[in-house]
Structure formats: C-alpha cells, structure tokens
C-alpha cells in the first residue's frame, strides 16, 4: 500500500487513509534520517522526513504527526521554531515533540523543555531504546 510521503507535498492523501501512527523526523543529515526512517517504519509507523524548518512546517500543516523527532540544528533555523509554530497553530494538538540533538549543553536541554518538548535525548540513542521509548510517546495502536 503506497503511503504518502513528505516529498509528495503531503497534500494528496487524507491522514485517515492509514491507522498507523505518523512519525515526522526533522533532520537535515540524510544518513541519520534514512536510519530513523528504517527504524520507525520497521516498528509499524508511517514516517515522514523533513530536512528544514520550512519543510517540517509544510508537512505538519497538511499532515500533523503523532510524534515529531527534532534535530535542532537545521539549515534554515532552529528546530524549536517548528514546536513554537505547531503549538501556536494547534494549542490542543496531539503531536508529541521530542528533541533528538547532538548538542550536549544544559542550556539546550532547558530551552527544549521550556519550548514544549516532551523530552530531550542526546544522540546517538541506542536503536532499541529509541523504539521502546517511542511507544510511550505514540498513541496506543
């Protein structure tokens, strides 16, 4: 079954077409985002990938995700801008935002939590642990 992809523009297929949880990976390094896609599709999710703030906002406007895994260092801005924009647009939205960052400083952690992230994880996170944790962030299937 063909699944809508962020690179389609994400606007052709209604979300109700699938009951799989939707995971949006916001990451500009394609080596990492490819690995995330494989992991999360293998554990039964529909995965979109966005490589910039603009792309991420585009996807979530048309196709809000259940879980947004955010890298913070993006070519066109800070990943937390995505959180702010989504929360502004849909304060009651059900998207869970988790920062998956390579920045190891305390200030980054504080900023993420203050911006509305459910959690901040320092990458690399062991694959099994990441998938296990994601189950607590995603709606029960």
């Amino acid at each position: 079954m063909a699944v809508p992809d962020a690179r389609d523009g994400g606007n052709a297929h209604p979300r109700a077409a699938t009951s799989q949880p939707h995971v949006l990976v916001v990451e500009d390094n394609s080596l990492v985002s490819d690995a995330m896609r494989i992991l999360f599709e293998a554990s039964g999710n529909r995965v979109s990938v966005a490589g910039s703030v603009a792309e991420a906002l585009g996807v979530s406007a048309n196709d809000p995700a259940d879980l947004v895994l955010l890298d913070l260092t993006l070519p066109d801005g800070d990943g937390l801008e995505v959180v702010a924009a989504c929360l502004a647009r849909q304060p009651e939205g059900r998207s869970v935002f988790v920062a998956l960052t390579g920045r190891d400083d305390a200030a980054t952690r504080q900023r993420c939590m203050a911006a509305g992230c459910r959690d901040v994880l320092l990458k690399p996170v062991p694959a099994r642990e990441l998938v296990a944790r994601s189950r607590s962030w995603l709606p029960a299937s």
Binding site: A35, G102, D105
Partner: protein, 273 residues
C-alpha cells in the same frame, strides 16, 4: 580564579582612582558583560562541536544496529560479529568524544552540577555490572562494599558515575588476570564536611609514589611503552579530578609498585547546586 571571577572582584572593589569611581565601575561592568558573552559563545562553540561529532557517529552506529537487529534481513553469525565490531568501535569513539568534550568544558570552567538524591550503592553496583564482561574476560574478582552508615548522597549522579567509570577502567587495564577490584563506600568527615568516601582498590601493578601527583595531569601516562595496554587519551584521571573538584571533594591515591592501587575520592553529602 578565572577571568569572570576576577572581573566580578574588580567590580566589588572599585574604589577611588584617578579615573573616578563611576568610570571604573562602568569599565568593570562592561568587561564582565563581555566575558559573559564570550562564555556563552564558548559554550555554544562546544555544543556545536558536540553536534558535529555526534551526528556522523549516530549514522554509523544506528545503521549498524539496524543490520544487527535483522531489520534488513537475517545475518550470518560472522556478519553479525562484524556488525557488532562496528557498533563497539562506534561506541568507543563516542566515549572518547565525550571525554574530550568534558575535558574541554572543564578547562573552560563550563561544567555545572545537577544534584539529585541517590544511593551510592546503586551507582557502585551499576559500574560493576557495566564492566562485568571485562571482569570476566580477565578473570578478575569484583566486590562492592558499602558501610551501613553511608547516607544518601545529594550530588550529580552522572558525574559521580563518570568518576567511577574512569577509575574502574584504569583498575581493569592495569590489573593482570586473576586479580581483583574492590569498590567501597564509607563515611568520612573531611575538611569539616560530612562526606562519602569512595574507594576503587585493585591488585594491579601499582604506581610509584613519585608518580602519584603526575598521573592526574593531562596526557600523562606513567609508562608510554607502546606494548602496554593503556586507556584512551590519558585524560581519565584529569577529568576524574575535575569532576571531584566540582563537587568540592578530594581525590588521591595510595599505591606502591607491585602492591596494587587504592584510589580514593570524597563527595560531600550535601553538594551546593
């Protein structure tokens, strides 16, 4: 005293000078603001480095884990062993990256404490079980002994675990097969403060008294013979000392050549956050 503290001191001490007290105060405050800005930039710089190193490492390790877990097809045993080699290599590299960044932050006085209440025994047991495969490989006996009067610690748990990991790593490296490593915790009043005293004791090759201070210095290794197995970059004890100092504790060693080594460090029971 670092430059920020010096600037603060000159603000407080700004007194009558030929330039006038107000001008002196303003100049000191400007310097303080400049130093703060530079500190923030330095922290960002180190965080950027962390990101730049961790991102490709994430690619390597995660792709290897995908192969390991059979997500893209089952592997033969030999393929599995090879993939595990990639993961272990990646994790070793990650550990070194972490050490170097901790060292860099420590040098820039940018390490901060995140105190929580925890049981020292848990941290000792965790360190012991994390190293279980290495203990087994070298047939080393290990033991955790915590005195009954040792209270809960209010300290930075991750950093205490880090200190232990570095001491334990050395103990294992420098102890020949069939030896032992003991982990002990007891109470001590040090410098008028209630502390927990943690000890990592090994039956290893020992350290000559004239080297007891030098081993805590950057990049110093007592024996740089290429054939001897050594532990990483030589930063382990330097970092351990930095993390102990951050808590307001002390670290020292008792050892003689051929007599094994006992590394001690204190952590005040109540650490200022």
């Amino acid at each position: 005293m670092n430059r920020v503290d010096q600037a603060r001191k000159s603000v407080l001490q700004a007194g009558p000078q030929s330039r006038g007290p107000e001008e002196q105060l303003r100049a000191a405050l400007e310097e303080l603001a400049e130093l703060r800005a530079r500190e923030a930039l330095q922290s960002q710089f180190l965080a950027n480095i962390s990101h730049d190193l961790r991102t490709p490492l994430t690619a390597v390790i995660t792709h290897a884990e995908i192969l390991r877990d059979g997500i893209l097809g089952e592997l033969t045993q030999r393929q599995l062993d090879s993939v595990r080699g990639i993961i272990n290599g990646g994790r070793q590299l990650l550990s070194q990256v972490g050490e170097i960044l901790t060292y860099a932050r420590g040098s820039a006085n940018q390490l901060s404490l995140d105190p929580t209440q925890f049981d020292v025994r848990e941290v000792l047991e965790q360190a012991r079980s994390l190293n279980a495969p290495l203990f087994e490989k070298k047939h080393l006996a290990s033991r955790v002994e915590v005195q009954p009067d040792v209270p809960l610690l209010n300290a930075d748990r991750d950093k205490v675990a880090h200190i232990l990991a570095n001491l334990l790593g050395n103990a294992i490296d420098f102890t020949p097969p069939d030896g032992h490593v003991w982990l002990r915790a007891s109470c001590l009043v040090d410098g008028g403060r209630d502390c927990v005293l943690i000890e990592v004791a090994d039956s290893g090759v020992g350290i000559a008294p004239e080297h007891h201070e030098m081993i805590f210095q950057e990049f110093a290794q007592v024996d740089s013979t290429p054939s001897r197995p050594h532990h990483g970059t030589g930063l382990g004890l330097t970092i351990a000392r930095k993390l102990v100092d951050l808590h307001g504790g002390r670290i020292w060693v008792e050892s003689e050549i051929g007599q094994g080594s006992r590394f001690f460090f204190t952590i005040p029971v109540e650490v200022a956050g």
